[in-house]
């Protein structure tokens, strides 16, 4: 069953993979695509120390579930699961997991990519990059605004 949620602990990947494969092979599926995003150690030539994620709950989880259900309506897609981390993440820590099972690799890859793009643009999740040269809010597709004091963003 499609699912999506905000989580603060790492999901059990092996269990998810086993279950998704066992659930789908009798329906003619033979492809499981997994995307894992993780925290970069360097951005714009600067060292990243921590990446802090916050989410507007319960609406962020609701939107993740909605994306999983909508994209799993495709007849060649069997199941989709999305897990997005929140909290203070260290360099190399996973930030998001997307699992897609489908009948063909093309469809599974294509769907996983579309799910990721939708998560990036539609889900109320916010990112603060704590770097060696200060703190930056990440807005949309890579735009960064240096964190300032209250009332100083004009």
């Amino acid at each position: 069953m499609p699912d999506g949620k905000i989580v603060s602990g790492q999901p059990n990947i092996n269990e998810i993979i086993t279950n998704m494969i066992n659930d789908s092979y009798l329906d003619g599926c033979g492809a499981l695509v997994i995307f894992i995003g993780y925290v970069k150690g360097k951005v714009d030539g600067h060292i990243v120390n921590i990446l802090s994620y916050d989410a507007y709950e319960p609406y962020a989880s609701k939107k993740l579930r909605e994306i999983a259900y909508q994209e799993a309506r495709d007849k060649d897609i069997y199941d989709i699961k999305i897990f997005h981390m929140i909290g203070d993440l260290k360099v190399g820590d996973p930030t998001i997991y997307i699992f897609v099972t489908g009948k063909t690799r093309e469809k599974a890859f294509e769907t996983a990519k579309r799910v990721l793009e939708r998560v990036k643009h539609e889900v109320p999740i916010f990112k603060l990059e704590r770097r060696d040269d200060g703190e930056y809010w990440v807005l949309g597709d890579g735009k960064r605004v240096k964190r300032k004091k209250e009332n100083d963003y004009t």
Binding site: K120, F126, K143, T154
Partner: protein, 87 residues
């Protein structure tokens, strides 16, 4: 009496120095437009952001027209551009 919660996220919370406030209106009916007018007087800096991005306003997690009637217990959120996912 209408009591609503207003939430601010990320850069917007920095901008006003709070992540949420509660507002009380001594009225029987109020629209989103009237609530936003009230908030603009409390926090005029919210409407002076000039960084090339838009703030999305949600009512109970959904986009709503300015003439939407706001009910007791509703939640309004100011959302800067979102940044989920990986790269």
């Amino acid at each position: 009496m209408i009591k609503i919660k207003v939430r601010f996220f990320a850069l917007v919370a920095d901008l006003i120095g709070k992540s949420s406030i509660e507002l009380l209106f001594n009225k029987k009916k109020i629209t989103l437009r009237e609530v936003l007018n009230h908030i603009s007087k409390l926090y005029p800096q919210l409407y002076k952001i000039n960084k090339g991005f838009k703030i999305l306003i949600l009512v109970n997690g959904e986009q709503a027209p300015l003439n939407k009637v706001i009910s007791d217990g509703d939640e309004i959120a100011f959302i800067p551009p979102v940044a989920g996912g990986g790269d």
